[in-house]
Subunit: 263 residues, 4 copies
């Protein structure tokens, strides 16, 4: 059972009539609704206005894959929650970052880059090409996905080199975009998928739903990565060594002589 | 002329006699001293206790390559300074992260991972193997560098996959470590080099000095990357398109309907 | 059911008494024997002296993961068989290349590099460190694997940058080696694992057996990648275009005007 | 001084009137002509019909960067010449593979993949987007290059993951293509650039000429990589070891007991 949390800032659906018409219960509930029928997925939602943004320590610990949708309120996400989510990703929780999440705090924090791009909101046609047909996230798709109305996201895109390139998008207005990219950070898997502007019914598109469902399965945790420092004492070394020389560490590996604010 | 800033927290050299004996003027001044004779390098230093940690907007703007040494006081580095340095790296400034910088705020911020590892301070022998002999950072070295006394840093190392692997270290006590790694983030180049524990005279070692000098040249900025968003209006599209559909943006691309804290 | 073929040149086991003592039925049968108890694996073997080296079209087509062990007779492997195996890898068959396979025709063909390294046969100790503890190929292992007697393989190793680094080895004599590396080529997954010199009982080591078993499961085919050219005619384009200009192609996309040897 | 050899199969220019009209002296001479004015480049040409295809040992040894254009006669290139060029690339010679070179013997040999793609010859518009504006190969370009008439090359493209993605193309007919990709193999740098169909005057385009000139400079050799095996004897080990166990090697590291064809 993969424990999935769909996070959404849930702002535009409550303040913009056009968006509300497409996602009356919020983008998170639309996504949760198409994931729930899959018997291997245990799906919950979380939103910005909940305490801890719905991402308490307990929720993070019990989440295998986190989906993230945000656009208007990236700056309202608490840094402490971002740090908590970041830590869980490095431990193994998968992150599926959707659309405007390319500049969310969590996406830029875990990748370390700006996430900037060029953009245009004109309802133009987007065609999402599969560049890696055998990849699990492309399973069940054909050569490409046609999205009749979409927001353009264009290159250059401020990301680290994708470790696996699954999709690249074509736009009617003449641009291209690396819109389906995989990375691994610590023990966590990260997938970014660009389609999903809130003024078009993109998360109602069956092939987009297929991609997101595939991505959730791909991003599930595997194995275990001890996420902390470890001091191996000289007498614990695999090869026999004789410790020598001065030290800046005291007993237990703590630093001594930090100066002003020794700790 | 490559404008180099050598940053050092400069703590242990002032509070630990053994370290002070090796680096009486601080690690930064030792590094600056071996870089300065190179006529293509214009070298300055900066330390934690200076205003802005010596890394004002002006200094960052006028720095092509930043070297970073820190160990005891990572937490005393202001987040605002880290954000400023991070932004400059994405614009093109090179970062040469030395030794304990593997858990500095700037290194973990720009790579997005924990930087954790296993370690032992026992003065054991380290042998730094060149895994990529043709790489510019390995220029002038032989097969390996012998460091008679070193702190052990061992795997697993919490970093993204290196884009170029220049060195891997062997330790007398039985461990290995990916201690010479390259990445690119935005328009900036990043090199991490693990040798450099402060209780041993490692920055006096001619081959270590060679590596750092090579790394500074490798990490110098190249080209230009516009580091901001750009809204391409429908009438500016390369292909003729007709804008359609609703919008969440107002004039000039600003978001409307952010809810509670509209801005 | 994963269909596994264990290939071995099967030379030294028949001509060297020391090797025969360790692997009386050949390395392939030792490996097959520890894989067979796993109910998800359907295991067969193939060797150099069989017709087609035991790798007919039918065998290749019915193989999901191929293990390759060779050392003394790389040059006796027919190029036509190598081409067939290569094609199958690009279609999705996994390749687990063992020990001296680093200079086998198939390994260097599918990676494009030399596979050269430095080496020493002195029965020294090797310690295989896990650099990616959460990786499926490291499942069930601790921090490292101790191999009491091993052949040294050292850097620089002539391979493309590993896409995932699972293991790095330490040697008693002072070297290091990237001995556990993953790549993807076309739709196929490739894993190289260095331990396995034939004069030591390395394939009897439980943790080495664990690694190979894990690797077989990791390397199993996923998805489907159409492995051929496709001519998309102008009238088949997703966007309406009007074909224009001269052509070097005739009907059906065949080239015309190849000169001397038109075909 | 960078020693450049521009190789061309030189077939269509002699057998197809439309191609001859654009490149009366052959594509190689057009490319050589725009490279020659650069005082840091020493440019020669070589073609298929010359002895050794113009790529003798001496020519290869004296070439720093090789450009390769072929389309109709890939199969007429001798395997021995391909092996020679391959060896030189691993030693450090740069390779700039142009257009249909994506299925040339040398490109597929050095990358190990099929190079297959989808294609259409319809004279449609191509727009080459810069995805890495700071990269040396993108120097002097704007956001994109417009090519009024081009052959479409589309995804999926059978290549290993690019180590640096410099360009991605958009096509009027609706496809995208990773048409500007960097790899390193051994000590050699490889750049593939897709525009260049012979029925359109693409190599007369100033920005295409800029890309190729940039690529030649980027691909020039750096450093030195010893491209052979090396046997480190037990007494030469950095750490003192005592050799133990049986051997399959005789004096000088030669293998013994190769069976049938002992050598």
């Amino acid at each position: 059972m993969i424990r999935v949390t769909v996070w959404n800032e849930f702002v535009h659906e409550r303040h913009n009539a056009a968006v509300a018409a497409i996602y009356p219960d919020g983008i998170h509930n639309t996504i949760a609704a198409f994931l729930r029928p899959h018997v291997d997925l245990d799906v919950r939602t979380a939103t910005l206005d909940e305490p801890d943004h719905g991402l308490s320590e307990a929720v993070c610990r019990d989440t295998d894959v986190l989906l993230w949708w945000g656009h208007a309120a990236h700056d309202r996400v608490e840094d402490a929650v971002v740090a908590r989510v970041h830590r869980r990703i490095l431990e193994g929780m998968g992150l599926v970052a959707l659309h405007s999440a390319h500049v969310s705090k969590i996406f830029t924090r875990v990748l370390g880059t700006s996430g900037v791009l060029i953009w245009r909101e004109a309802g133009e046609r987007e065609r999402v090409w599969v560049t890696n047909p055998g990849h699990p996230i492309a399973a069940g798709l054909g050569d490409c996905i046609e999205i009749e109305h979409s927001e353009m996201y264009g290159e250059p895109f401020g990301i680290p080199p994708p470790e696996e390139q699954v999709f690249i998008s074509w736009y009617e207005g003449g641009e291209v975009f690396r819109g389906g990219n995989c990375w691994r950070r610590g023990n966590g898997k990260i997938f970014y998928f660009s389609p999903g502007h809130e003024t078009y019914p993109i998360y109602h598109h069956p092939q987009v739903q297929q991609v997101i469902t595939n991505a959730v399965r791909w991003a599930q945790p595997q194995g275990h990565w001890p996420n902390g420092f470890r001091n191996v004492l000289p007498e614990q070394a695999h090869e026999k060594i004789v410790a020598t020389g001065p030290s800046v560490h005291g007993p237990g590996g703590t630093l001594v002589g930090r100066g002003k604010a020794d700790a």
